[in-house]
Symmetry: C2
Subunit: 285 residues, 2 copies
DNA sequence: CAGTGGTCTAGACCACACT
DNA sequence: GTGTGGTCTAGACCACTGC
């Protein structure tokens, strides 16, 4: 029996191609044979993974391909179990991991939904700056001022960070965020122009809510993770002017690379935070 | 039968007291980001939680009480299942959560072990400072210089942060960490004197490995989590002298509160990081 | 009411580590 | 070989949601 348990580890992906998402999409991974134990294995030692990991990969593919869209419900556990010909428990374990990575959200009695930046309670998931007193909400809405939005050729370092093909151009956006009526964040963002065709300063200005929500809704690019590097620094004259601080005011410099599904980099950000009224919060565990 | 499944949710904690370790501590658990919320221990309204959560709490208690010590193996899943009169799967789910919180570590074929700061691969789990070039290891051993170690009465703010009883005193330790031969971190630590009786500058100086490893081994205090607040700042003259930087050099100020089991605060730290050769790294997800 | 995710159990077999 | 955690299945019942 194809769906039997016995060969799940060694043969399942081969002997039991499953239905997977659709004929249009290639099998997600590990569609190779060969034993991890076999000593003579040449290059390309295939990755044998547990069934639930394979299911997870298949689901990641559906998310990435846009088959399931942000804020929508994905098929129920039962349906997925049927689709992939595994037990509900195996699907559950795959979903557990996706939920742990904040890619989907479970809601008891309702279903499992694709996570989105356009949701109240995660609106500031990627912003770690908090006011020293009160809460972000109590400061009133964040005010955004777009200073610049243009297309240009990236420097080599930037092109590498974004893993661009030679010749690809980027969009650079410079803006100021005002919290509590005071200019607090000055940031430059660089985006692959191909992915964000047609993005305008106007669009950025008029948009309400998190910028990543706009990217997700209008360009189908969903940020799933980001890496930040922090430093203390001093502003140059222009930065000081824009943030309305003295040239001697130390600022927090935050460099960020944002990633989408499969850890593909899709944004580089370099920001200056004023930390005289706010602080950057982090949890270690 | 006490172990029956049927009433697990509504009655288990009451009708099925199990052995549990003791009812002394109301399970604060990983409470939702929500507010202070009612502690649910008004004698008439016990907190009903899933069985595996109760098992988890019982295990937390064993960890906290020192029944299972760092780096030691805890009883096998089967043994725990017998002890608590539940199925192995339920124990597994409890352990899964403890492992996700880095409180225990599973090792296939060997057992499940109490996490420890005295292990190579997690040696710098709470230090997010990385050299701009190379790795921490390539910089050679971290050099520690203890500048101060004394007992004093805490200021009100500090006493509150550490949740000290009136009159309790604290130990203050000031030290410099040198990375790559250059003084890079200047930090003050405050510890409840009662918990760290007998801690000496000598002991801190001679200790090899992470400080939290010393606390864990010699004082039975294991840090499980920490909250940090970051700012850019300028050093005062003494700080500048100690770090061998100009008075105008911006530094990263890192305030930390470290917590042990049950989120009890046991350390306050205030540090200055040089970020001209290093940076603070963080992952958002 | 039916459907969803949440919890619990029981039993099977696999991969790994020690002895 | 024995014991450990790791994976998978099957089936049960509970709790929440919305019709």
């Amino acid at each position: 029996m194809c769906t039997g348990y016995h060969s799940f580890h060694w043969q399942a992906a081969v002997a039991c191609p499953r239905t997977m998402t659709s004929p249009t999409t290639a099998p997600p991974e590990a569609s190779r044979t060969g034993a991890i134990a076999s000593p003579g294995e040449p290059a390309g030692t295939p990755t044998f993974s547990p069934l639930y990991q394979q299911i997870k990969q298949a689901m990641l593919h559906s998310l990435q391909a846009g088959e399931w869209k942000p804020q929508e419900a994905i098929p129920s556990e039962m349906e997925l179990a049927k689709r992939y010909s595994v037990s509900q428990g195996t699907v559950r374990k795959a979903i557990d991991e996706l939920a742990a990575e904040n890619l989907v959200v479970r809601r008891q009695g309702k279903g499992t939904f694709v996570a989105s930046h356009n949701e109240r309670h995660v609106e500031y998931r990627f912003l770690r700056l908090y006011p020293d007193q009160g809460t972000l909400d109590s400061e009133g809405p964040t005010q955004r001022t777009i200073l610049e939005c243009r297309r240009l050729r990236p420097q080599a370092e930037l092109a590498q960070a974004l893993q661009l093909a030679p010749g690809e151009s980027v969009l650079q956006i410079r803006r100021i965020l005002s919290l509590g009526g005071r200019p607090t964040i000055l940031e430059d963002m660089w985006l692959p122009a191909q992915l964000f065709k047609g993005l305008t300063a106007e669009q950025l200005s008029s948009h309400q809510g998190p910028t990543y929500g706009l990217f997700e809704r209008d360009f189908g690019v969903r940020m799933t993770r980001a890496e930040e590097r922090l430093r203390a620094t001093l502003p140059d004259p222009e930065q000081a002017r824009l943030l309305q601080v003295d040239a001697g005011t130390p600022l927090l410099q935050v460099e960020r690379i944002s990633l989408t599904y499969n850890d593909m980099p899709v944004e580089v950000r370099k920001a200056l935070y004023r930390t005289d009224t706010h602080h950057y919060r982090n949890t270690l565990s």
